[in-house]
């Protein structure tokens, strides 16, 4: 298969198992975000793909070639590091040229001074310079080519790192939290730039982040990684609307999804606090009813709750309330004006509610047929 294929990867550091049987396929041209909280093993996975770390078991295949034990330089991958890892002693131009020099010039041609005397070296170096300029131009780096990394701002360094990574059109493009060192405003504009570069290069892109906003806005598909496992892979919509696991449901979404203890009777009807929800499932007994804050709304009838405090966000108000003993949060229209201590009735659309069994797995649910 072309692109990147990870199969059954395992990795432990001492007694700690950081990766468990990780499988993932990224075809060329696809942007996959590897999303997970810090310490879930996502950076380790990226380092294994790059060849910086070796897996205990499993295979890494790039463009149909098994590269599990190959040198990082022989894998046709490029990587952007969190702290950029630019060569401090080289100018921007030289930094971007390094991957091309290492690949196109033979060891003899790279020897300082003497290499330049070999026939053909000058022409090859001119080609490299042309490629550097071609990649630097659209990133706005043209005026900075003769500066050193220390003389650049964080955002500029970031773009140099991107240019250095894509200049040789790698088959696989890896990014390790590339936006985490930028300020909030720059982060949003750089997202767009990274997606643009990905489109232009057409590589299989794997983007590691702990920021779900980045993953959901940038990626074609999101792989959610929790505790060393990839729990779900899907489009951003699937991940948000249709999580297969309670952990995914509660990891994705801000504010967090509301988790309410519910109960399915012998007839399969799901009841919240003894009141029928209009949902029917195949499971019986205790289960978790998960409702996104925007699917829960104040109404004239429903479940009684008590407002605890409110957060005014401009376009909506976040209403923090207590439903029986469970804290819930919902988005309410600003116009309704709630005050702490005020009782409120809550209602939700059964079509947008999710059911999870006691083991955390998603349960099938459908709306009860009203007579």
């Amino acid at each position: 298969m072309r692109g990147l294929l990870l199969d059954g990867l395992d990795k432990s550091f001492g007694a700690t198992r950081v990766l468990r049987n990780v499988r993932l396929a990224v075809p060329p041209g696809e942007f996959v975000a590897l999303l997970g909280p810090s310490g879930c093993g996502k950076s380790t996975l990226l380092r294994i793909v790059a060849g910086i770390e070796a897996p205990d078991a499993g295979r890494v295949t790039i463009d149909g070639r098994d590269v599990t034990r190959a040198h990082p330089g022989a894998r046709d991958v490029a990587m952007v590091f969190q702290n950029y890892a630019l060569y401090p002693h080289l100018t921007v131009r030289q930094n971007i040229a390094v991957p091309l020099m290492m690949r196109r010039l033979s060891a003899w041609r790279r020897v300082p001074v003497l290499g330049g005397l070999l026939p053909g070296t000058a022409a090859q170096r001119r080609d490299i310079q042309a490629d550097v300029t071609r990649i630097a131009e659209p990133l706005g780096l043209a005026p900075l080519l003769d500066r050193r990394p220390a003389q650049l701002s964080g955002g500029q360094r970031q773009r140099v790192a991107l240019a250095r990574a894509v200049v040789r059109s790698p088959h696989v493009f890896l990014l390790d939290e590339p936006l985490s060192n930028l300020d909030a405003a720059l982060r949003v504009t750089t997202r767009r730039e990274i997606v643009d570069i990905h489109r232009r290069v057409g590589a299989a892109t794997l983007y590691v982040t702990h920021d779900q906003a980045e993953a959901l806005t940038m990626a074609d598909r999101v792989a959610v990684m929790l505790g060393g496992e990839i729990v779900q892979v899907g489009t951003p919509t699937e991940i948000y609307e249709n999580p297969v696991d309670l952990r995914v449901a509660s990891f994705i979404g801000s504010p967090r999804i509301n988790l309410l203890p519910a109960h399915a009777g012998e007839d399969g009807a799901v009841r919240l606090q003894g009141v029928a929800t209009g949902l029917v499932t195949t499971a019986r007994g205790k289960l978790t009813l998960a409702i996104r804050p925007e699917a829960l709304e104040p109404a004239h009838s429903g479940w009684p709750a008590l407002v605890e405090h409110t957060e005014y966000l401009g376009e909506t108000t976040l209403l923090h309330a207590r439903l029986d003993t469970t804290a819930v949060v919902l988005r309410a229209p600003v116009s309704q004006g709630f005050a702490p201590g005020q009782p409120v009735m809550l209602r939700f659309d059964p079509a947008r509610a999710l059911l999870f069994g006691e083991d955390g797995h998603r349960l099938p649910a459908h709306e009860a047929q009203h007579a």
Binding site: R47, H71, G73, M79, Q82, Y87, P88, H89
Partner: protein
């Protein structure tokens, strides 16, 4: 005010440390009889520079000694860097079985004074018929455990990502050492170079053991030969010889002063 006080203290200390050297220069300019007067004067009554320096230059193969010193120190430094930089890199950045043991051995090496292995080394060079050669002067000092230690500590501070990026860009370990690590370790390399050159230029012990005669005599040894064989009690000429032999180091230091101070400050060697 604070500045002036600081300058005064520093100036006083500098004067104190430089006093013997200044006295040596002063003595090298005086006629011999003036040296033994009861009262001390820094400025000679009669300048005898031409006599003193002339005598040294006439009777001592100064150029030969200086050249020997340059070849020996240069040779030692080149090999020390050639071995210590890759070794320091391996100890700082590569993971291999037994690395901690090797580093322990390096630390142990730091504890052994250079004079301890002198006798076995002499026997070995004698056995190989290499006495009285540059090889005998250079080879025992080519591996500097201090250098390995210094570079290892400095390389530790380089971010791992830089090395990883270089590998992904297609560099092998040798290319990483010379193209990425060394260019970012100039302060350490300069500091080490100065320590090494000063130590070996002034070293009397080892050259005295493995060389005889003038052919391979280093500057320090040259001064010694001059004192015993030529100068006798002509201390003014002896001082002139000392000035000539130490001048290259002083000049080199003045030229590299800024880098030297930079290196000491960034490698944390001061104090």
């Amino acid at each position: 005010m604070g500045n002036a006080a600081r300058l005064a203290v520093l100036g006083l200390l500098a004067l104190l440390f430089m006093a013997p050297y200044i006295w040596m220069i002063s003595a090298s300019l005086k006629p011999t009889d003036e040296l033994f007067r009861a009262h001390m004067a820094l400025i000679p009554e009669r300048f005898a520079a031409i006599e003193n320096y002339g005598r040294v230059l006439r009777e001592v193969p100064v150029a030969q000694y200086l050249w020997n010193g340059v070849v020996m120190c240069g040779g030692i430094l080149v090999f020390q860097l050639l071995f210590a930089i890759p070794a320091g890199y391996a100890l700082a950045k590569l993971r291999f079985a037994g690395r901690d043991w090797v580093f322990g051995a390096v630390m142990l090496g730091l504890l052994v004074p250079a004079h301890v292995p002198a006798l076995p080394l002499y026997v070995a060079f004698s056995g190989m018929g290499l006495l009285n050669s540059f090889a005998a002067l250079i080879i025992p000092s080519t591996i500097s455990v201090f250098g390995i230690f210094l570079f290892r500590q400095f390389f530790k501070s380089l971010p791992d990502e830089l090395i990883h990026a270089a590998r992904i860009d297609g560099m092998g370990e040798a290319a990483i050492v010379w193209r990425v690590v060394l260019p970012n370790a100039w302060p350490a390399a300069t500091a080490f170079a100065i320590f090494s050159v000063v130590a070996h230029w002034n070293d009397l012990f080892w050259p005295l053991i493995v060389t005889t005669g003038q052919a391979y005599a280093t500057p320090a040894l040259g001064v010694l030969h001059f004192r015993t064989e030529e100068a006798g009690d002509d201390f003014a000429a002896l001082m002139a010889a000392c000035v000539i032999m130490t001048a290259p180091l002083v000049l080199a230091f003045l030229l590299a002063q800024r880098r030297f101070v930079e290196g000491i400050a960034t490698t944390g060697l001061k104090g």
